[in-house]
């Protein structure tokens, strides 16, 4: 098994990584970013869920 294939061991971490990348990285075109204006609640509920799952993972690791 290659090291990179180990990602399946921590799917939640990977999901959090994905969203972290999407929200914080990538090239800026307008410099005026609007986070999902039509659907603010959904975005933030989604993020809280992801953060919660990362916290769960940390608890389990401790």
């Amino acid at each position: 098994m290659s090291v990179i294939e180990r990602r399946s061991l921590a799917e939640e971490v990977t999901l959090l990584d994905l969203v972290d990348r999407v929200l914080n990285k990538g090239v800026v075109v307008t410099g005026d970013i609007t986070l999902a204006v039509g659907d603010v609640d959904l975005v933030y509920v989604g993020l809280r869920l992801l953060l919660a799952s990362a916290a769960t993972l940390e608890r389990e690791a401790a």
Binding site: L18, V22, K25, G26, V27, V28, T30
Partner: protein, 187 residues
């Protein structure tokens, strides 16, 4: 409303709900439906597989219409072309170094500081070793991103495996391959 996902070159396949609009030597991949961050990320990752080069755009770029999109892209087109050339044919691998917990268990302030220092040196060492294997690299305190050509993934995996062997007290979380997000920011 037009939502912008990424710039690509050498596009082989595209989800039928998306469009590819030409700007200079690039294609801007857009959609009409508002994505959530997860959907957005999955689209960009599918482009990593469906195109030769992909430059991810930060989530949240939205335009009232084609004119607004073109007006926003035109003044910085050369920058985007340059960044895309930098990451062409490449993927990103993320490496997070998990601390050993030595510092937390150390007795006294001086012991704690010494353990933290050792930890920091190890992180530094590992980053330097991995950066030497990559085309480019970026890092924050414990997270790092490495830009690799697609066919360098196996070699990089081996380098990570070797580091794990030589640092038995250390854990590394390796994620990817990703679209090269960390190398997209225009500079």
């Amino acid at each position: 409303m037009i939502y912008l996902y990424a710039f690509v070159q050498g596009l082989r396949e595209l989800d039928p709900s998306l469009q590819a609009r030409p700007f200079g030597s690039l294609l801007a991949v857009t959609g009409d439906d508002e994505p959530d961050p997860l959907r957005f990320g999955l689209v960009v990752e599918s482009l990593r597989e469906g195109a030769d080069a992909v430059l991810p755009v930060r989530f949240g770029e939205r335009f009232a219409g084609e004119e607004e999109l073109a007006a926003a892209i035109a003044p910085r087109l050369e920058t985007f072309e340059r960044r895309l050339a930098h990451v062409a044919g490449c993927v990103e691998v993320g490496v997070r170094i998990i601390p050993t917990g030595d510092a937390e268990g150390a007795a006294g302030g001086a012991g704690y500081m010494a353990a933290r220092l050792r930890e920091q040196r190890t992180v530094e060492e590992i980053h330097e070793a991995l950066a030497a294997e990559a085309r480019d690299s970026v890092r924050t305190s414990r997270d790092a991103g490495y830009l690799l050509e697609r066919d360098e993934l196996d070699r990089f995996s081996l380098a990570v495996a070797r580091l794990l062997e030589s640092h038995p007290a250390l854990d590394l979380v390796c994620t990817g391959p990703w679209a090269p997000y960390s190398f997209a920011a225009a500079t």
